[in-house]
């Protein structure tokens, strides 16, 4: 039989019941050494953001029609122990491109159908696979895989419509990595950040 108890009485009862639960607990003595081993290993890998397992990789819409000079910069972000990550995206246009590997796209079509071949490059020596995900491929980690063109240098070129695009790299199918050379978005509602590239003709 359960009689009604006042809030005060319930609180007092709860306090009493909780007393044995306040006993201190101890972890195994090697907890710290195991953890620091994992921390050191993590520190020696390329810079990456952790995707919580319970999250879907976010999908975002949105091209904006602004026209900026194409990104041509290269930034080197050295990690703590020797591995180097370089990410950059180059927007190339038509016959002016000097890059041999990239096919040019002649803008014979109306402006809104114009695309720009954009090369994504990531240096990730320890990766087994690298994909690029973004609003241009519905953030699908299987849609656009980079090729390992030489030791640890991964690359892919794809046509992008002009405007602002958000993207990120995914290493080994599960490690979300922003482009260290590119501007980043703010955290979205899941606390995830992406990189931004603005594609368009050369103009300032």
């Amino acid at each position: 039989m359960r009689e009604h108890v006042s809030d005060d009485e319930l609180q007092r009862w709860s306090e009493r019941v909780a007393i044995p639960l306040r006993a201190q607990e101890r972890l195994a003595p090697d907890f710290e050494s195991r953890l620091m081993t994992a921390v050191r290993e993590n520190a020696s890998r390329p810079q990456s953001l952790d995707i919580p397992r319970s999250m879907d990789i976010p999908r975002r819409a949105g091209l904006r029609g602004r026209w900026f000079a194409p990104l041509a910069g290269v930034a080197v972000a050295a990690s703590l122990v020797g591995a180097v990550i370089v990410g950059y995206a180059i927007a190339l246009r038509g016959v002016h491109t000097a890059a041999r590997e990239v096919a040019s796209v002649a803008p014979a079509t109306p402006a809104h159908d114009t695309v720009y071949i954009t090369r994504f490059v990531l240096v990730a020596p320890r990766a087994a696979s690298v994909s690029v995900v973004g609003d241009f491929n519905a953030w699908d980690t299987t849609a656009t895989r980079l090729a390992n063109v030489r030791d640890g240098v991964w690359s892919v070129s794809l046509p992008l419509t002009p405007g602002r695009h958000e993207y990120a790299f995914v290493i080994d199918g599960r490690r979300w990595t922003v482009d260290p050379a590119a501007p980043a978005t703010h955290d979205d509602e899941f606390g995830v950040r992406s990189s931004v590239i603005t594609v368009g003709p050369s103009s300032t």
């Binding site: 359960r2 108890v5 809030d7 319930l10 609180q11 009862w13 709860s14 306090e15 019941v17 909780a18 007393i19 044995p20 639960l21 306040r22 006993a23 201190q24 607990e25 101890r26 972890l27 195994a28 907890f31 710290e32 195991r34 953890l35 620091m36 994992a38 921390v39 050191r40 993590n42 520190a43 990456s48 953001l49 952790d50 397992r53 319970s54 703590l80 955290d187 606390g191």
Partner: protein, 182 residues
């Protein structure tokens, strides 16, 4: 004992001194251990949860907006991790984990006011609460945090937390009364 503030140690780690993270681990590990054990039911599971949480804390350290409140920030990660594990396990998990390793890691029973048998009953009843209510009870009555601190850790509002705590206490009392009258 390192005399640097949390903010200073965080800055050192972000500046490249990876080993400095051990200072934060040593500082906060015990504070979270009891919470994790009460939430998950065994020191073995708590160990795994805390390893993951501390590692996540390291990876996401640059996203800690107020390094002087590192402890509260990491507590949130720990609580999320425990909640995730409990939800994944499902409410079918009732048994006390009794494998050999877990027994080795058990704290020695406390010759306290309440005998060990009663304590096990309480722990068993606690594990029958759903994660939200279990967490609310543990934070309020075991960790003895204020509602404001609890709000910071759980992301829930104070009145919602008060309701959860009350429900948790009522449910626990019902469960333990059943046990006593059995």
């Amino acid at each position: 004992m390192d005399s640097r503030s949390d903010a200073q140690v965080v800055a050192a780690v972000l500046g490249g001194d990876v080993e400095a993270y051990a200072v934060l681990v040593a500082r906060y590990r015990d504070a979270y251990t009891r919470f994790a054990v009460r939430m998950l039911g065994s020191a073995y599971d708590a160990d795994e949860a805390l390893q993951t949480a501390f590692l996540r804390g390291f990876r996401a350290l640059s996203q800690c907006k107020d390094p002087s409140r590192f402890g509260a920030w990491l507590y949130r990660i720990v609580a999320n991790q425990c909640r995730e594990i409990v939800v994944r396990r499902g409410r079918r998990e009732r048994r006390f984990v009794s494998d050999e390793q877990s027994l080795e890691m058990q704290s020695t029973p406390h010759p306290a006011d309440v005998d060990t048998g009663m304590r096990e009953e309480i722990e068993r009843a606690l594990r029958q609460l759903d994660p939200q209510h279990r967490e609310a009870f543990v934070l309020k009555y075991v960790e003895e945090l204020s509602y404001e601190e609890m709000a910071e850790i759980t992301g829930a509002g104070v009145s919602a937390l008060k309701m959860r705590v009350k429900r948790a206490c009522e449910r626990l009392r019902n469960l333990l009364e059943e046990v006593q009258h059995a």
